[in-house]
Amino acid sequence: MDAFTRLEAVAVPLDLPNVDTDRIIPARFLHKPTGPGYERYLFHDVRFDANGSEKPDFILNQAPYRAARILVAGDNFGCGSSREHAVWALHAHGFRAFIAPSFGDIFFGSCGKNGTLPIVLPAETVAGIRRQLHARPGATMVVDLPSQTVTGPDGARHDFAVDPFRKECLLTGQDEIALTLGHEAAIAAFEAKRDVESPWLVPGKRA
């Protein structure tokens, strides 16, 4: 996994609340291989018209925001389906950090597995940042994970909370499976105990 430490980049505001993962990537693209061109599926049905041409009113299609790597969203961003493809499509487009008042729980968890950082800030703070980004298209922001701060377009710094485990994994680009396999003895001991305490869960032993 790519590590995440500090990002200074253009940010794009997305004002709608409850942006679901079906909107981030429609279901009919979920069987498509990831790789070159995958970013095309991002927000596909709100970003392109029936002929495949860009809809000029969609904010990601507007020149100053095309280079955005930080997305500043509304409440409950990434709700709905568990599809990690939503994170993959955002990543393919270049996004590495997401700021919102709240996120869908599964989306939030999947971000950290793909080298991207979801950040929760108070609703008023996020709304204020979005207003600045609308007023100054193409403005940049800074996301700094070691100090757990976001610097807005106006230079104001905002602290954010991050789970220490997730922070460590992101800073080092930790392979989480390798980390867990390091707990092999504990897992094996747990299984041995569970199989004695709940033998009906052991295949072939349920009678």
Binding site: D15, L16, P17, N18, D20, D22, R23, P26, A27, R28, L30, H31, K32, T34, D45, V46, G74, D75, N76, C79, G80, S81, S82, R83, E84, H85, V87, S102, F103, G104, D105, I106, F107, G109, S110, K113, N114, D163, P164, F165, R166, E168, E176, I177, T180, L181, H183, A186, I187, F190, E191, R194, S198, P199, W200, L201, P203, K205, R206, A207
Partner: protein, 471 residues
């Protein structure tokens, strides 16, 4: 002084393998359900040269991409066919049980887990699908995970998790005639909002929940994610035990007695503290439909399309305006005057035998006036419905009787509506484009969807007469 413990905490504590940094724990997974969308996780696992730690704890079925007609005929797109075939190949190579096409036990993963007795009280169960909360109806801790987590569970049988909050939603009182489990959960979501349960596991309790059948409880827990919660759960009781006994993977004999003794310890202790509590009166619930593009946009069928200009919050107002524009609805219109073009009955929310009986009770002796399809949740449900003659009632009423799968709930297999069509649906999501580009979805119970099929508009099923109580 002893402190009461919630059911969630009892199960959580029992599954902690190790402590990590901060509040993260390594949580053991008893059962891992897989479907053909899990292919990427298998590929990454194999690519890294890693093995499946406990294949006997994994169970797979094909549901998202499978055709619901012409089972033998190949699906149009080779890539889609490859998903279904890839699951069969991966599971065969890795020694994972697979209920594939041609197996009567094949079906929607959240329908067949309980049907096979794989879903049991007190276990942890995960699946790469957000509707995994369905299994919580048995007093299990069940939640949806992403593809990276699927790979992690395959390799380690564990997941790093931070304990969520626990929210109790009590629904008390007797449900009025014609009010179903679907109406209860839609009312819950309308009350707390689509992010109301974010960061929480929900325990549903109260007399209206206890009075429900297992199938009804599954409908309720299924839509927890539509309220923002990854997990929803209901305390196991005699209804639960009665459903489980004799199922293929349920314990038998002495083991059954041992399991039963343990299961009875699971319900939350009296006095257990919850992080948040919400209460609803079942007697006040009315058959419910959604009008917008979020499951929280739900109203009694007796209501009218809401007016955004009456909403003070500018964000909410803009969101409502966008939803009404997508849905092609005019504020103030009585919901019962909204015409529908298509009806879908199925999905992990409402495709079980009780759901199908409820549909049959409405359409028997009537005739659908719009295209309507009924997609059973599993091959065994299909067989049971045919043994009862439900299929003949459906076809006589002009409803299509299909093969099991997710079908038009997610549209991945090509079962979609046409742009601009309005669909009365028993599924769980009314998101933009969910049932096809530009398709407008109204969520409702099976009985209400059946009523819409025979009238061609959103209909208060109570006004049709002659219906069963149904799920």
């Amino acid at each position: 002084m002893s402190v009461g413990v919630t059911m969630f905490d009892k199960i959580w504590r029992r599954h902690v393998v190790a402590e990590g940094l901060g509040e993260q724990v390594l949580l053991y997974v008893d059962r891992h359900l897989l479907h053909e969308g899990s292919g990427a996780a298998f590929d990454r696992l194999g690519g890294a040269g890693r093995r499946v730690r406990r294949p006997e704890s994994c169970f797979a079925t094909a549901d998202h991409y499978v055709p619901t007609t012409a089972r033998v005929a190949a699906t149009a797109e080779e890539e889609i066919r490859g998903m279904v075939e890839g699951l069969a190949r991966h599971t065969a190579e890795l020694g994972i049980s697979h209920f594939g096409l041609g197996d009567a036990r094949q079906g929607i993963v959240h329908v067949i887990g309980p049907e096979q007795g794989l879903t049991q009280p007190g276990i942890t169960l995960v699946c790469g699908d957000s509707h995994t909360a369905t299994h919580g109806a048995f007093g299990a801790l069940a939640f949806g995970i992403g593809s990276s987590e699927v790979e992690h569970v395959l390799a380690t049988q564990c997941l790093w998790q931070k304990k969520p909050g626990v929210m109790r939603i009590r629904v008390d009182g007797a449900r009025p005639f014609g009010v179903t489990a679907k109406d209860v959960i839609l009312s819950v979501i309308a009350r707390i909002g689509t992010a109301g349960g974010t960061g929480h596991a929900i325990e549903y309790a109260g007399s209206a929940i206890s009075a429900m059948s297992m199938e009804e409880r599954m409908t309720v827990c299924n839509m927890s994610i539509e309220a923002g919660a990854r997990a929803g759960m209901i305390a196991p009781d005699e209804t639960t035990f009665g459903y489980l006994e004799g199922r293929p993977h349920a314990p038998r004999g002495d083991m059954w007695e041992r399991a039963l003794a343990f299961w009875k310890t699971l319900p939350s202790d009296p006095g257990a503290a919850f992080d948040r509590e919400v209460a609803l009166d079942a007697r006040a619930i009315v058959p419910t439909v959604t009008w917008g593009t979020s499951p929280q946009d739900a109203l009694p069928i007796t209501g009218r399309v809401p007016d955004p200009s009456a909403t003070a919050d500018p964000v909410r107002r803009a969101s409502m305006e966008r939803a009404l524009s997508y849905m092609g609805l005019v504020p103030g219109t009585p919901l019962t005057e909204v015409r529908v073009d298509r009806v879908f009955i199925g999905s992990c929310t409402n495709s079980r035998i009780e759901d199908l009986r409820a549909v049959a009770a409405v359409v028997e002796g009537r005739r659908a006036v719009v295209p309507a399809m009924v997609v059973p949740g599993s091959g065994l449900i299909k067989r049971a419905a045919e043994a009862e003659g439900l299929d003949r009632i459906f076809t006589a009423a002009g409803l299509e009787w299909r093969d099991p799968g997710c079908s038009m709930c997610v549209g991945m297999n090509g079962d979609v509506g046409r742009e601009g069509e309005r669909c009365a649906s028993t599924s769980n999501r009314n998101f933009e484009g969910r049932q096809g580009q530009g398709v407008r979805t109204h969520l409702m119970s099976p009985a209400m969807a059946a009523a819409a099929a025979v009238t061609g508009r959103l209909t208060d099923v109570r006004t049709l007469g002659a219906l069963a109580g149904g799920a």
